[in-house]
Point group: C2
Chain length 321, copies 2
């Protein structure tokens, strides 16, 4: 199998078009996709201070490396990494080591934001605490919402004007299907590729939204990138897993299933946004974060943790500035 | 477990609300859902001549019985059954026997329309013929499109003003997801609960769209209805099966998954319809049927069957009037 561009031995074959590409042209192909996403959705302006939400996993490692390369062409822009330490013993420490190796290799400034510093307790401690409450929300519920805020606070403290996250094509279409099966139509209207939205102060962008999970792993392989790939000890079976399995199964008959779903989402989401009457973004009564209801997700969740009920996140937000 | 309405022993428990109901109240509940669908989507007018597309299977058997009951209250309306004989040996003959038993039991006028009469060949003969062609379309492709036309011609010949089909909640949401994974956004905009649309002359309605497959089987059981339940010999694994499996799996975590998807479809479909620029319905150049392109689906498919290329469906359409 020879690369369609240069005739050298192929490194891989693209799933949707069956095109064979060598390593060099595969890397080019992926980086072109990222530049396409940035341009199409006007994700950045030439002088943005971009904070990459960096975990050390495959998605954000690829994002960091690709943005680093692209950013070279914009002398007035800045790039740095926000690394969140949720406090998951035996898991995050290892990921942190790899994350630090990558930022140092590229010479990218970074900041580590930890749950312990920000919320007084590690995720492990929060999980232990809520085990005894009647609601018993999962670790992922707390982690997702608190990490989002941690990234926001960290990015703000460094003066970031954009936060770039590693959400890939699979994440995007899984979330779309998840919201459909949950009947959460409003959320489909609220999600967008360049999203300023709810619960965050700094606009978020997803430059990897056209790159599938498989393509990301292949890119990391092609560039010999080191990333953390152990599964999180808190991850458990979920509806998202069923959605993932369904898409992977469907791919056998319909190789472009992910692209089809994203195209559908990109038509449907703006129509829902336009049609929606509740676009007013309020301010959280407790912490002032943009939110769709009286309390933001963070402050709502804090109320479910007995020893954090009176915790004031505002102090942390201002003190870390 | 006691019926929540009358305290007699429960016949079943509703999936989405866990409500126990006795046989009588379960029957009432299902019939109420059908009346709700009819009213909400203005499916019928008081003097409609309703042709039920009747196969003898669970869905159309339940539809026939429920519509028969409802129709009693509308003296100016008429109800009859169109039974299609596709010519699938060892399968359809048995279904036909059960279908005739049901229409005769209710005293409902009926008409049998056969592929042999209408298209010169049975489905079995068509399948044999196309096996030797390079395209090798499946039996289901021909059967679906030709049966749709057969129902239309049969209904027209009896002067019907509406065709009612047995599509249930599962069918509706499966089709929605199928069109999403295929990226066929236009079709999502075209499908509607009371649909006059493409490729048919007589408006079609789906009174069972809020009733799930399971609820339909239970209703047939509750009323002791006889229906044909053998699987079609041509049915094979398909993307629709994967969609079905996914929904059934998701139901364990989200019992209202079907209702959620239908609600999403009912918001999204009209928005797409409103937004679409290609709403012009053309006429098929060969047979005059309403269509979105130059040729209708029937005439397009006829061209893929060597010995039917010059077949003229128009003659059949007018002669059976």
């Amino acid at each position: 199998m020879k690369c369609i561009k240069c005739g050298t031995p192929a490194f891989t074959k693209l799933l949707t078009s069956n095109t064979p590409l060598c390593r060099k042209h595969y890397i080019e192909y992926i980086e072109k996709k990222v530049r396409y996403a940035i341009k199409k959705h006007k994700m950045f302006s030439y002088d943005d201070k971009i904070a990459v939400a960096y975990s050390g996993g495959k998605d954000s490692t690829v994002l960091l490396h690709v943005l680093y390369k692209i950013e070279q062409h914009y002398p007035k822009s800045e790039l740095f990494a926000i690394i969140v330490d949720e406090g998951i013993s035996g898991y995050r420490d290892q990921a942190l080591r790899i994350a630090l190796k990558n930022v140092k290799q590229l010479g990218i400034p970074y900041k580590i934001v930890s749950f312990k510093d920000l919320f007084t307790y590690t995720l492990d401690e929060i999980v232990l605490e809520v085990k005894q409450t009647p609601k018993k929300l999962t670790a992922c519920t707390y982690c997702g919402v608190f990490r989002r805020r941690a990234i926001d606070i960290g990015a703000k403290s460094l003066g970031a004007t954009k936060v770039a996250t590693g959400h890939n094509l699979d994440d995007e279409v899984q979330t779309f299907l998840l919201n459909l099966v949950r009947g959460d139509i409003k959320r489909i209207g609220r999600l967008s590729p360049a999203y300023s939205g709810m619960d965050v102060f700094i606009p978020r962008v997803k430059p990897l939204r056209y790159v599938s999970e498989r393509e990301i792993v292949l890119y990391a392989l092609a560039k010999n990138l080191e990333f953390h790939s152990d599964p999180c000890p808190y991850s458990s079976s979920s509806t998202r897993n069923e959605v993932r399995e369904f898409i992977n199964k469907t791919e056998i008959r319909i190789p472009s299933v992910r692209e089809n779903l994203l195209a559908a989402f990109d038509i449907i989401s703006p129509l829902l946004r336009k049609n929606s009457s509740d676009v007013t973004i309020k301010r959280c009564k407790k912490c002032g974060a943009p939110t769709s209801s009286d309390l933001c997700q963070v402050c709502k969740l804090l109320e479910t943790i007995p020893k954090m009920r009176n915790f004031n996140i505002v102090k942390k937000m201002t003190s870390s500035k």
